[in-house]
C-alpha cells in the first residue's frame, strides 16, 4: 500500500508542477506581448465591434484569464493578418514541421550512436579523434552556414540545385536531396549532433568502467543488454533537452529550404506583428515540450528505481 501511495504522490506532484508551469508560461507569453506600445486594435486598424468581439476592450487581467482559458482549450482566436482561425493555421502548417523534426532526430540518432560507441571504446585511435574533432566543429556552426556549405558542395560536385523542387526527369539524387537535406541540416547544425555524441560518449565511458560490465566481460557474456538500459535512460534525457533547441532551428531551416511549416509561420507572424498566431504557436510549442518532459520523468521513474 505504501509504495502505491508514493507513486501516486509522485504523479500528483509532477502533474501539478506541469499545470503551474504551463500557467506561468502562458503568463510570460501574454504579458510580454502586452508590453507592446499602443493598442493591438489600433496597430491592425480593427473596428470597435471587432475589437470588442476579440475582448480587446477589457481589462488586461481579465483578458489574460480569458486567453489562458481559451489557450488550454486550443482556441487562440483569429489571425489578425487574414482572419483564419489560428488553430486551423497551426494544423495546416504543423505536418511539415513534425516530419522535419522527427526526420532530423532519426538522422542524428542513426549517426550519433555508432559515432559515440566508436569514440568511447577507441579513445586513442587517431582516426576516431580526427573525426570527433570534425563532428564537433561541424555541429557547433549555425544552421544557415552548414546548410549553405552543404548546398554549395552538392551544387558543385553533383551539379544539382536541391532548393528547387525536382522535375519528372530529374536525377535520383535530386529527389533524395530535396526530401532529406533539410532533415540532415537540422540534425547536424545548432550543436545537435555534437551534443548527442558527447553525452552518449560520456555515458558509455562511465558504463564501461562499471564493475558489472567488467564482470560480464570476464564471464564472456553478451554485453549489449548491459549497456542498453543506462544508455537508453540518458538518451531519453538528451532527446527531451534538445527538442526545444531543435524547434528553434526549424525557423531558419524552413526559411532556407522554402518549407511552409510552423517555423515559417512564426517568422511570418513576427514580421506582420500577427500577435495571436505567434502566441498560439509559442503556447503550443511549450505545451508539447512540457508534455515531453513529463513523459520523460515518468519513464525514468518507472525504469530506474535508483533515481527516485
Amino acid at each position: 500500500m505504501k509504495v502505491a501511495n508514493e507513486v501516486l504522490a509522485f504523479y500528483t506532484k509532477k502533474v501539478l508542477i506541469f499545470a503551474i508551469s504551463m500557467f506561468f508560461a502562458a503568463g510570460l507569453i501574454f504579458f510580454v506581448i502586452s508590453l507592446t506600445p499602443g493598442n493591438i486594435a489600433d496597430i491592425h486598424g480593427l473596428s470597435p465591434t471587432t475589437a470588442a468581439s476579440l475582448h480587446l476592450d477589457k481589462n488586461i487581467f481579465s483578458r489574460f484569464l480569458l486567453w489562458t482559458y481559451n489557450a488550454f482549450t486550443l482556441n487562440f482566436g483569429p489571425s489578425l493578418a487574414n482572419g483564419t482561425q489560428v488553430t486551423e493555421l497551426i494544423f495546416d502548417y504543423a505536418p511539415t514541421t513534425i516530419q522535419l523534426a522527427i526526420g532530423s532526430l532519426v538522422f542524428s540518432l542513426l549517426l550519433s550512436v555508432p559515432l559515440a560507441i566508436v569514440f568511447a571504446l577507441y579513445p586513442h585511435n587517431k582516426w576516431a579523434r580526427l573525426s570527433s574533432t570534425l563532428v564537433y566543429a561541424l555541429s557547433s556552426l549555425p544552421v544557415f552556414v552548414v546548410a549553405f556549405i552543404i548546398l554549395a558542395l552538392i551544387f558543385n560536385l553533383l551539379h544539382i540545385y536541391p532548393l528547387d523542387p525536382p522535375t519528372e526527369n530529374a536525377p535520383f539524387w535530386h529527389i533524395l536531396f530535396y526530401q532529406f537535406l533539410p532533415m540532415i541540416v537540422l540534425g547536424v547544425g545548432n550543436g545537435t549532433l555534437g551534443e548527442f555524441v558527447r553525452l552518449l560518449q560520456l555515458e558509455i565511458e562511465n558504463t564501461n568502467q562499471a564493475l558489472y560490465i567488467k564482470s560480464a566481460r570476464a564471464r564472456g557474456a553478451f554485453l549489449f543488454p548491459h549497456f542498453f538500459r543506462p544508455v537508453l535512460l540518458s538518451f531519453i534525457t538528451i532527446l527531451v533537452s534538445r527538442f526545444a533547441i531543435l524547434l528553434g532551428g526549424v525557423i531558419v531551416v524552413e526559411r532556407i529550404f522554402n518549407r511552409r511549416g510552423l517555423g515559417w509561420l512564426t517568422w511570418e507572424s513576427t514580421l506582420n506583428r500577427d500577435f495571436f498566431v505567434l502566441m498560439g504557436v509559442a503556447f503550443l510549442t511549450v505545451l508539447v515540450i512540457r508534455i515531453f518532459i513529463l513523459a520523460q520523468e515518468i519513464i525514468i521513474y518507472q525504469l530506474d528505481p535508483r533515481r527516485r
Binding site: 510570460l28 557547433s140 556552426l141 549555425p142 549553405f148 558543385n156 533537452s241 517568422w267 500577435f275 518532459i293
Partner: protein, 403 residues
C-alpha cells in the same frame, strides 16, 4: 616562447587556438570602426572585384560545369522557370561577351561611383528578390555594365586547370598593389572592412549576454546548491519553465512586441541561458558542500558569505566561470548571426556577418563566391574559437580533478 611551453597537458592546442581567435576578434573589434570611411577612387560600385589570392580556392569552390548546369535540373517552380527562360542564354553567350568587352575595354570610360554615401549604406537594403535570384548574376554579365577588371579572370576561367595560369595569378598578388585583399561585394564595399566592422557587433552583445546570464545564474545556483530546501525548489521550477521555451521563439515574441533592438534581444538571450548556468553551478556546489574543507571552514566559525564567496566560488568555481563564459560567447555569436540572417538582428548602420550572408546568399552558387565565403569563414572561426577554448579548459579541469 618560454611562456607557451608552460601550457602543458590536455587541451593545449584547443586553448591556444581559442585564445588566438579571441585576440583576433578583440583586435578587429577595436580597429574595425576606424576603417569604415572610403575614398571615392577606392570604391567601384559598378563591378565586383575578385580577391587576388584565390584562383586556387576558386578551382575547388566553383566549377565551370556546375555553373553551366545551373538551370538544367530544375523543375517548374517560380525560381526554375526564370532560370530556364533567362539564365541559360546568358551563360551560353558568355564567351562572346568576354571577347566584346576585351575589344571595347579601352573605349569604355572608367566608371566612378556616383554616390559613395548611398553605396556604403547597409546590406539589408540590397537583399535579393526572392523570385529572381539570378538577377544578381545577370546584372554583371550584361554588355552595358561589362566589367573591365573582371575580363582577365573570366577569360582565364576556361583554362583554369592550367597550372601555369594559377601560378601567374599567384605571382600577380605580389606584383600589383591590390586594395581589396578579400574582394568587394556588389556595392563595391571591401569584404575585409565589412568583416572587421562586423566583429564589434558580434563581440560586445556577446559580453552583455555573458554578463546577464552569469549574474543571474551563478549567485542563485551557488546559494540554492548550498542551502537547498524551498528556495532551491522555487528556483528549479522557474529554471525548468524558462528552459521549456525554445530560445528563438522567446526572442521572437520579444521582437514582435517591442522594437527589434539588438541589445534587448541579447538581454533576453542572457535570460534564457541563465537556467543552464544555474544548473551547472548548483550541481558543483552540491558536490562541494559535503567535502572536508568546507565542513572544516564551517566548524572554524567562518561566515556563510566568506565560505560561499571565497572557498566555493573563488577557489573552486573560477575555472568553471571561464568555461561557461566562453561557451556562452560561442552561443551568443551563433544566435546573433542567425537573427541577423533572419533580418531581425543588427540594424542598418551596423554590419553583421549574418546579414552579409543574407544579403547575397545566391553568391554561394555563383562565381562571386568570396562575398559569402569569407563571412561564413569568420563565423566558423569565431564560434569554433570560443567553443574550443571552453572545451580545452574543461579537459584540463577534468584531468586536474582526476589526478
Amino acid at each position: 616562447m618560454s611562456y607557451l611551453k608552460k601550457i602543458r597537458g590536455p587541451g593545449k592546442k584547443r586553448i591556444l587556438f581559442g585564445f588566438s581567435v579571441v585576440i583576433l576578434l578583440i583586435f578587429s573589434a577595436w580597429i574595425g570602426p576606424h576603417l569604415t570611411s572610403y575614398k571615392v577612387d577606392y570604391m567601384d560600385s559598378a563591378h565586383i572585384m575578385e580577391p587576388p589570392s584565390l584562383p586556387f580556392f576558386r578551382s575547388f569552390l566553383v566549377t565551370q560545369k556546375g555553373l553551366q548546369n545551373l538551370g538544367k535540373n530544375s523543375g517548374q517552380g517560380p525560381v526554375s522557370s526564370h532560370t530556364q527562360s533567362s539564365h541559360s542564354p546568358v551563360r551560353s553567350t558568355k564567351s562572346t561577351q568576354v571577347k566584346q568587352s576585351n575589344e571595347y575595354s579601352n573605349e569604355l570610360p572608367e566608371q566612378l561611383p556616383n554616390n559613395p554615401s548611398t553605396s556604403s549604406s547597409i546590406n539589408s537594403e540590397n537583399t535579393l528578390n526572392e523570385d529572381d535570384p539570378y538577377a544578381f548574376l545577370e546584372s554583371h554579365s550584361s554588355p552595358t555594365a561589362a566589367p573591365t577588371k573582371q575580363t582577365s579572370t573570366s577569360a582565364s576561367a576556361d583554362s583554369q586547370t592550367s597550372i601555369l595560369n594559377s601560378f601567374l595569378a599567384w605571382t600577380k598578388f605580389f606584383q600589383v598593389s591590390h586594395k581589396h585583399y578579400f574582394g568587394t561585394d556588389k556595392d563595391g564595399r571591401d569584404i575585409l572592412v565589412l568583416l572587421l566592422a562586423g566583429a564589434k557587433t558580434c563581440l560586445i552583445p556577446g559580453l552583455l549576454v555573458c554578463f546577464i546570464a552569469l549574474i543571474i545564474g551563478v549567485p542563485l545556483g551557488i546559494w540554492s546548491g548550498y542551502t537547498g530546501g524551498k528556495f532551491a525548489e522555487v528556483c528549479n521550477f522557474f529554471a525548468s519553465t524558462l528552459l521549456s521555451f525554445p530560445q528563438m521563439i522567446l526572442i521572437l515574441i520579444f521582437i514582435c512586441a517591442l522594437e527589434p533592438n539588438l541589445y534587448l534581444i541579447m538581454g533576453v538571450l542572457g535570460l534564457t541561458i541563465s537556467p543552464r548556468v544555474f544548473g551547472v553551478f548548483k550541481n558543483k556546489t552540491e558536490l562541494l558542500k559535503n567535502t572536508g574543507f568546507i565542513l572544516a571552514a564551517h566548524e572554524a566559525g567562518l561566515s556563510k558569505f566568506r565560505i560561499l564567496f571565497l572557498h566555493i566560488f573563488w577557489y573552486q568555481c573560477r575555472t568553471l566561470l571561464v568555461i561557461q563564459f566562453s561557451l556562452i560567447m560561442a552561443e551568443s555569436i551563433l544566435v546573433e548571426t542567425t537573427l541577423s540572417y533572419l533580418q531581425f538582428g543588427t540594424k542598418p548602420p551596423d554590419v553583421s556577418w549574418g546579414s552579409i550572408i543574407e544579403g547575397s546568399r545566391m553568391a554561394f552558387f555563383s562565381e562571386y563566391y568570396w562575398i559569402t565565403f569569407f563571412p561564413s569563414l569568420a563565423i566558423t572561426l569565431s564560434i569554433l574559437g570560443f567553443y574550443y577554448l571552453g572545451d580545452g579548459l574543461n579537459a584540463r579541469q577534468r584531468a586536474r580533478e582526476n589526478n
